[in-house]
């Protein structure tokens, strides 16, 4: 089984959500995002959490997940 198939199978089993595509989008770097819960679907974004929330509400999502796409995406040891 190749690596991609193994990864797909693993994701299917665990329900893992990938944020790789979101983080790679340059427009989102340093911005606040409102995401549909349990998905990587963006329902709003902006320079402030309020802007992201407003867009989400306009799209009918009242309880999005608020996050920020970091400028620096290096691995971290806290």
């Amino acid at each position: 089984m190749n690596v991609d198939k193994m990864r797909a199978l693993q994701k299917h089993r665990s329900g893992t959500i990938s944020f790789v595509k979101l983080y790679e989008k340059r427009d989102y770097r340093g911005k606040f995002l409102a995401l549909l819960p349990d998905s990587d679907k963006v329902v709003g974004y902006g320079k402030t959490p309020q802007q992201a929330l407003k867009q989400a509400k306009e799209k009918g999502c009242d309880s999005p997940v608020l996050t920020r796409i970091p400028v620096n995406i290096a691995a971290s040891i806290l």
Binding site: S14, T16, V20, L66, L78
Partner: protein
Amino acid sequence: MKQIILPYLEFPTQDPVTKEKGVLYRPVIRIYLSFEKRGYNFFALIDSGADYCLFPAWIATALGHRLEKGQERTFNGVGGSIKAYLHTTFIQIQDYQFRCDCFYSRHISDYAYGLLGQVGLFSYFREIRLDYEHKQITIIIPATTPPSSRN
């Protein structure tokens, strides 16, 4: 025995020097934080190495906490020391809500999520299993812990 099973989330990384790209799995979960009349969903990393729960300052602002009005405290980490401010906040994970002394810091303002540490998450749920092989988090609910809604 009740338990909450949640998946790890997948994040990209890039070495700031070599620019080499990679992918990491982290035990990051969705939580609901609330203070007075405001409450929102955020992400948080289950961090057994953190003594307390720590969140970026932008989350304090979103919740309506006046950051620097909180009690100031300094924490040490591998990268040095950071200043943070204490604000009591309600944390909810699925049906389980608890009051927590959370700290908020500008030093981690670039973070996408907060950290759930020993005092708060682990003291409330007592047993949390991180299964990296299966990318699965299991939170064991103590029999004495009643579910509570966010209202």
